[in-house]
Symmetry: C2
Amino acid sequence: MIKKNAFYAQSGGVTAVINASACGVIETARAHKDKIGKVYAGRNGIIGALTEDLIDTTKDSAKSIASLRYTPSGAFGSCRFKLKGIEENRLQYERLIEVFKAHNIGYFFYNGGGDSADTCLKVSQLAEKMGYPIQAIHVPKTVDNDLPITDCCPGFGSVAKYVAVSVREASFDVASMAKTSTKVFVVEVMGRHAGWIAAAGGLASDVNCELPIVILFPEIPFNKEKFLAKVDAMVKQHGYCSVVVSEGVQGADGKFLSDQGLRDAFGHAQLGGVAPIIANMVKDALGYKFHWAVADYLQRAARHIASKTDVEQAYALGKAAVQLALKGENAVMPTIVRLTDKPYKWKIGVAQLKNVANVEKMMPRNFITKDGFGITDKCRMYLTPLIKGEDYPPYKDGLPQYVRLKNVAIPKKLSDFKI
Amino acid sequence: MIKKNAFYAQSGGVTAVINASACGVIETARAHKDKIGKVYAGRNGIIGALTEDLIDTTKDSAKSIASLRYTPSGAFGSCRFKLKGIEENRLQYERLIEVFKAHNIGYFFYNGGGDSADTCLKVSQLAEKMGYPIQAIHVPKTVDNDLPITDCCPGFGSVAKYVAVSVREASFDVASMAKTSTKVFVVEVMGRHAGWIAAAGGLASDVNCELPIVILFPEIPFNKEKFLAKVDAMVKQHGYCSVVVSEGVQGADGKFLSDQGLRDAFGHAQLGGVAPIIANMVKDALGYKFHWAVADYLQRAARHIASKTDVEQAYALGKAAVQLALKGENAVMPTIVRLTDKPYKWKIGVAQLKNVANVEKMMPRNFITKDGFGITDKCRMYLTPLIKGEDYPPYKDGLPQYVRLKNVAIPKKLSDFKI
């Protein structure tokens, strides 16, 4: 068997821990130099493969690679670029295989969400057909936590922790001010279709620290009257309340409450700005003074408050992807399997990509309270272990010391390719 | 000498470390039980004094009081309620003295910004006139960092750290996405008149980690053409850029770029939402895909990423306030005196309240680069020590364990008072 090289790429929105998965992939591959040659990373994700812009990760020291574990963002660059169906876009898929072949790449590790799981599967299938078999392994990543089969997705736990901690802190703040000033605080969080991140706001309140929190989920059609009544009741009872609103909250007509009319490269609506709409709605109807925040990238980049569980799982999945490749697996994705809730125990499992691609996991209805504004004990049981533990990066002069890699490209062997 | 009780109250917008000052006041008073009786805290600030709603802090254990050191927000409630001039509002001042007299209060510790320094001074003056002398000591607090004389204000260092860390993290995120997606990230931060907090965004970039950052200060009249040219140049050079915009940024006409038309109780404009305005401006003129965030309360409540320097100074100033009182001082404020920059050394000083009240400290022009979009080395030298060090709160199940006090009121002795 000729020793094959590996290709690794990051796809879609980056997270606080996607580099921890990269770290897991690269360190594990380095530990098996007898079987895996070099790990090349795609500059800006799959675009790097199409344009033959391959980063030689061996140019970076063991220390730099180890630092990826605590560095947020995508160290090699990510992209929002979806390969379409093979029939429409056969040339692109063929180009990928051609590049892999030119650089003796036998392992394709693709680190992303649902779209990239689909791409990963197609690469595997086409490579097979083209007579240059590639072991394609998908490494799950998405703050949205909407991939099927796996119990959770790396990136989500850290966003969830950021949201839970921030909502607790802001609620303490509003509680202090409510007598003469702000009574309602609205914070907008990510989650286009699934309310997992918004749900994490509910963790801010627990038996040791009860706080009045109203959550607006994308899964629950927005009902203005019920919402205003809920906020009013909370303020009358507690003097204040915090509202956690998902960017993807929709009216009964299925329209996003705030749609800027923009679309991203995947054709998804580009959202933002529902917090001020909700806040002004409260002010107009109830007269309460408000403040609002939109966390946006701050939430998914917040490595400083990452969940230890999340970091460990992100690393473990990167490591497992390489181990699966070494076992000869193809068109699979390592998953998190939850063994027990209390104490929280998990192990790595394996999912077939054909069962993962293009399936979205929504919040189960029984994770949301009957009135649609809170989380149930079942949901709390699911979420709590995912935000558990702190995993602080090193600091110097008050700032986290995140690594930036050299990202040296290897020489190209092929002619240019237009994407 | 009859042993007098002390009154402590929190005023204005709360911070991540105002409770650390409360902790300093209460612990130091408890250590001098021979001279200071009980510490009563005003429920919701000065309103608690006016309404005789006095919290008996002795009902909380030493452990609970110690926990204030790492708990954000105002543990006794704060308020936005400014006592006007003595001539207009003599009744309120007289009521304060009456309440203090009824409860044998001889020390008035007022923890707030410029407005409360003014109130503190007036209480001292009127008490003198009314023949019931009160030692009034102001404990500085404001995220805006705009109090004079003191080198810095508790609360600011932690917001500065939050902003510097968040801008670094978000910049890493945008850098990863810029090839095919977001090229400009805009984050709005607090700072109504002074650009101290916005300046902290500049710390995200340093010699070890250069990042393209454009800052919009309230001190620099907004020039749309220059701003767009700067952003365009940054994106062309680096592929992306982050914009840190102060909520208080104004046009050449002196109007806030975003004024919701609301006013707070102090008559200040209630701002918010300049980030989307700036972001859309960039999109319209340059066509770059953008994301924007508004940190709002998240920034000032973020005790999870508080600056160690800030926490230590907040505590030290609370402690110093009591020590000044014990020395017989009146109408003063303990300050931070910077001794050296490198290594950073500081000590406690004392300012006369008549020199503090109603004076706003703006950013010196030489802290801002010539083009108006960045910070100078002088500014960096000033800011860096203030964000230095981490001071993490304890966690349980993934969440910070902030304390909530019992806040038991003492029996009232006087008739009701309408405010």
